[in-house]
């Protein structure tokens, strides 16, 4: 079981993490951040995150700042 921490005001909404997550646990948020971008959101209702950190690895802005396993 894993968990990630996204800094939603650092996220620029490129969604490369959405593409990268093997479990499809990231999606576009419906509420904008400080800069008006719609950041990525981590939704893991069934505890599927494996803590692989692929989302963080693909993030160009280090907006995914922590991954736990």
């Amino acid at each position: 079981m894993g968990r990630i921490v996204i800094d939603r005001d650092v996220c620029k909404g490129c969604y490369l993490c959405v593409e990268a997550c093997p479990k499809k646990l990231l999606k576009k948020s419906q509420t904008p951040n400080l800069h008006g971008d719609f950041p990525a959101e981590f939704v893991d209702e069934k505890n599927e995150c494996i803590g692989c950190a692929m989302c963080a690895m693909n993030c160009p802005d280090v907006a995914i700042k922590e991954v736990y396993r």
């Binding site: 620029k12 969604y15 490369l16 593409e19 160009p60 991954v67 396993r69």
Partner: protein, 252 residues
């Protein structure tokens, strides 16, 4: 109990947010470099040499000592710094416009002299900072602001293959081309940059890694599309590979 398996590297400034466009490849490469400097515990012993391009303000991103250089000349500044302070870990961070176009002469001679420095060259096949003009690495047919109908070889020649040319220089210890397009490729990119860093740490010679990276803004593509464009199109022209690895030859 949960364990922290990934965190923002220490060698990046705590609030040093990247100023790049969404999906720009520079951020991934800077993060990989910071991770490696953390892993080798080199934070206090590193001098990074910045170049002219979108990544010009390295000091706003890295918690490292940074010296700036004029366009294309960071390998020369790095040479001077390394020769004066041979105990320091010195690398240049350059674009394709900087390292392979205006400054290619400097890059080649640094490789031929076998300077004990490392160059990371971000190849996004254009001058990103100035609005997307063609560079030496621009693909045949690629539309840029200076090749509005696509690059035509009869007018502007053929793309320059930097990693292969640098591999051909005797002073080069390691030369590779990688891409930061998938998790697998990002891992391989990190291993290549590690090898190029080790070439310096072990005193083997010049290390050069060309990284194919997206410039979604000037390519007029969405980030995900831009990243796919690298794997589908750019790698056909600029193939991934390790073109020289002196450490591998030694162990044979």
């Amino acid at each position: 109990m949960e364990t922290l398996v990934y965190k923002r590297p220490e060698s990046l400034l705590k609030d040093g947010q990247f100023t790049f466009c969404p999906g720009c490849g520079h951020g991934v490469v800077l993060r990989i470099i910071a991770e490696l400097i953390d892993e080798y515990n080199l934070k206090k012993d590193t001098i990074a040499i910045s170049s002219v391009g979108c990544s010009i303000f390295l000091e706003k991103f890295f918690d490292l000592d940074v010296a700036g250089a004029s366009h294309g000349r960071s390998p020369c500044v790095a040479t001077g710094v390394k020769r004066c302070k041979p105990d320091k870990f010195v690398f240049t961070y350059q674009g394709d416009g900087d390292a392979a176009t205006i400054g290619f002469n400097e890059t080649i001679h640094t490789a031929c002299r076998g300077e004990h420095i490392t160059t990371i060259m971000i190849n996004n096949t254009n001058f990103g900072m100035t609005g997307g003009q063609a560079s030496a690495t621009t693909l045949v047919g690629q539309v840029t602001t200076t090749t509005p109908k696509g690059r035509k070889p009869e007018l502007t020649g053929y793309p320059l293959h930097a990693a292969e040319i640098i591999a051909g220089c005797e002073g080069t210890a390691y030369a590779a081309r990688v891409a930061i397009t998938t998790s697998k490729n990002i891992r391989q990119a990190k291993e290549a940059i590690r090898k190029a860093f080790e070439a310096q740490i072990k005193g083997l010679g010049y290390g050069f890694v060309e990284v194919l990276a997206a410039c979604p803004t000037n390519w007029h593509m969405k980030p995900i599309e831009a990243v796919k464009h690298i794997d589908n199109i750019i790698e056909q022209v600029h193939p991934l590979g390790v073109f020289k690895d002196v450490s591998a030859q030694e162990t044979k």
